[in-house]
Symmetry: C2
Subunit: 471 residues, 2 copies
């Protein structure tokens, strides 16, 4: 791993830029942050980390043996990179596995479809298959409007539209409804299976998996399968031409009982305020068909690399920097919830938190949700990383990433370095989420942005928490 640190350089940052709202960024801190940015841009540490994770561990389904190997990998990496404290914090969870699956259109003619069971899907009858005609729904609203029992003996197919690619990933939430709640209405209708158009912006024969939403803790009994956008297009054209469509679906997906997952926690202990924590991270688990490079090997690599570069400074920053490799994110933020529970007594010590979980394209925006007192310091970070092509977005924007939600709900201040998500939903939860989709230079830009943010958040004597939440 190449990680040459060139901290000798001094860069002049004008007091005019740095003095905002009465806040002055100390010149020494600014210089160090700037030097870290330069070092990060020239380092391939993050690339080495994500290459290692995706290659030596591979796919890492939440709760699987592979995810356990990923935790061992994370521990070893933390030690190698010189973190002061490395630990694995286990938790238990229910394990869902896709097993084997086949989805074939059998009428008007036979054609294999490219599909993937959704997380939480049930199975077809033992040693058998579901064979039935489909009922076509143009979108999720059409399905939710059915009467109970209206789909008896049928397969529901919920179409929709391919997502429109966007920098922000807007559109994911609405599109995602058919994945999330479709099964609840299909079962209510008496359907034997549910097939949905994948939630994704690509036009490849790549199904997008992802977790469904449970209903009062219950999951689907029937197979629930997402098919690729081109397959959904095909079914739509056939349906519109008046053809009756039948399918055969065989799936052995299901819940396999309780297993152990865990979070990997890597600390650089603060030299003055070790109890105050700046938390960054990504999630270690991935869906099982790709190798989880973009989601979220990249986030693990970016944040670990940023902290590791700071670890090579002559002294630790004032506060503790904590990298958390969350377990079991994809299946319901289980690692994040476990972390919040297990660290309940020190949540008030988390001064800032952010997760990288939106791929590895260049960061284009910095948003924050911190105290009025802390905001000018984040603005100063924005000034330093502005030359990386990053704009300063809103200072009152909640959300630091999915695994930060349980912390943010308890008042932990958040920031977000927004990656360009234009192709994120081409790859999201597909077999295509592999290492070749990451550009090393874009990845390094991410590390550069993170290292400036994290270093300053840990070094500056600034209170990011609001007064009401501090008491």
């Amino acid at each position: 791993m190449k990680s040459i640190i060139a901290l000798g350089m001094t860069v002049f940052l004008s007091a005019e830029i740095l003095a905002q709202d009465g806040f002055v960024l100390p010149a020494g801190d600014a210089d160090t942050a700037q030097a870290l940015v330069e070092t990060a841009l020239d380092s391939d540490l993050a690339w080495d980390i994500v290459e290692s994770l995706t290659t030596s561990v591979g796919p890492r389904l939440a709760g699987s043996e592979a995810e356990a190997r990923a935790r061992a990998w994370g521990e070893e990496l933390g030690r190698e990179l010189g973190f002061d404290r490395v630990s694995v914090e286990p938790f238990t969870m229910e394990f869902w596995e896709r097993g084997e699956m086949e989805i074939v259109m059998t009428a008007p003619y036979e054609q294999a479809l490219y599909g993937s069971a959704l997380g939480g899907s049930g199975r077809s009858p033992f040693l058998g298959a579901v064979n039935a005609e489909i009922v076509y729904f143009r979108n999720i609203d059409a399905l939710t409007a059915i009467e109970d029992g209206a789909l008896d003996g049928k397969i529901a197919f919920v179409d929709g539209d391919a997502m429109v690619p966007s920098q922000t990933g807007a559109g994911y939430g609405p599109s995602n409804q058919r994945r999330r709640i479709g099964w609840q209405h299909a079962e209510r209708g008496g359907a034997e299976a549910l097939v949905v158009r994948s939630v994704g912006s690509d036009s490849h024969r790549m199904p997008h998996t992802g977790m469904m939403s449970s209903m009062d803790g219950e999951w689907a009994d029937i197979p629930v399968i997402a098919v690729s956008n081109p397959d959904a297009d095909h079914l739509r054209r056939l349906h519109n031409s008046g053809e009756a469509i039948e399918m055969r679906i065989r799936s052995t997906a299901g819940w396999r009982g309780e297993v152990t997952s865990g979070n990997v926690v890597l600390d650089l202990i603060g030299r003055e305020n070790p109890d105050e924590i700046v938390l960054i991270g990504g999630h270690l688990d991935s869906w099982d068909q790709g190798t989880g490079a973009v989601d979220d090997g990249a986030g693990v690599a970016i944040t670990t690399a940023a902290a590791a570069l700071i670890a090579q400074l002559p002294q630790r920053p004032r506060r503790t920097i904590r990298v958390v490799m969350f377990g079991a994110e994809e299946v319901g933020l289980l690692g994040a919830r476990a972390y919040a529970e297990q660290h309940a007594d020190e949540i008030g010590n988390h001064v800032l938190a952010t997760e990288s979980d939106f791929g590895a394209r260049t960061v284009w925006q910095l948003v924050s949700n911190v105290s009025d007192e802390g905001t000018p310091a984040i603005d100063a970070v924005g000034d330093i990383i502005g030359p990386l092509g990053i704009v300063r977005g809103g200072s009152n924007v909640p959300g630091g990433g999915p695994d930060i939600i349980p912390l943010a709900m308890q008042g932990v201040p958040t920031v977000r370095l927004s990656q360009n998500g234009s192709d994120y939903f081409d790859l999201h939860h597909t077999p295509d989420d592999t290492l070749d989709k990451i550009d090393p230079d874009e990845l390094a830009q991410n590390v550069a942005a993170y290292v400036a943010l994290v270093y300053l958040a840990a070094e500056l004597d600034v209170d990011f928490r609001s007064a009401t939440e501090d008491e």
Copy 2:
């Protein structure tokens, strides 16, 4: 189907442009060709045809029941579009089918790979699988250099490199060696299976299938599987890191006995020289995992639409225009060979032949291989279609498409309208070859180029055959 013909327009083409090497394109013919170009650009007939073929028939493996449905579809289409003579010309062939396949890396850890049996592949042991360590070969040359028996009990994996995309598809031939002849050396070495990097320029988890080459009429006994470029990258990285790699391969691929395929022949009978034939076409069969939109539904659609537009003129051109939808191209040009045999006594009457079998991107070049007397007429076609962005390439360039080879070998003159193949080998022989990959406007540009060429070749009193071949 919208196919409004607007032949009323007159366009002035200067005599200066049209008079070349003593050849003068009659103004009336030029006007008609120009009007056909305008009509084609405004028509969505080709789009309707390829949409119908891919949707109502779907994948059409050579020799399959689906290919038979495609022939029925072709006959019906020909009658609907007003061709004067519609026939199916059957031939027999050996049928190969992929059956079911599973390829999983089992060491250093378990990970499903995205692979596809190559055409002509053998099967794994009945109710069993091949379980073995791989021997890594950096390229096909490394495999061909092995000694007999050197791979006993192993799986050979032949790496290589992703193809570099290019307008011309250059690089396909050399890359293709591992697909073509790899099995012969793997079997010579005693390997239990062969796995090769797909021959393709994409970076998706899309394996590229395709036919192997037989050796003295014999085919592989062992499973031969192409894996996607990202999978091959993954195996390479693991191998380079020193890991021993094992795989489990289960395949039921094999030869199923003799079946009937056929060519669909649609004629517009020439008004003056009905025995003289201008032959155009594409191939009706496709690989079985996509729906054969780009390869070669597009070719069928472009050439059929071009002829159908000519069919709407007030009178038939002087010569016969024949559209051939070739069967069983993918598995060894079987339809083309059958056509040449079945039409042996009239091969001397084929005045010009060309096939569209390189996708549906815009045509960028016109090349020819016709007599000296005929070349200026092709130049005149080049002048008319030049404004479509098409350059006049070489006038001594052999090759009118794969299915034209048996005719060209017997002296039939050829032309080629070269499509931009920059993304052709992203899609070629993959599940991703679906309708959404075709741009309707680019498709219409193809029809416009074809219609000018075909109309003038059939109308002009020009001898494209060389003197020696005419006697």
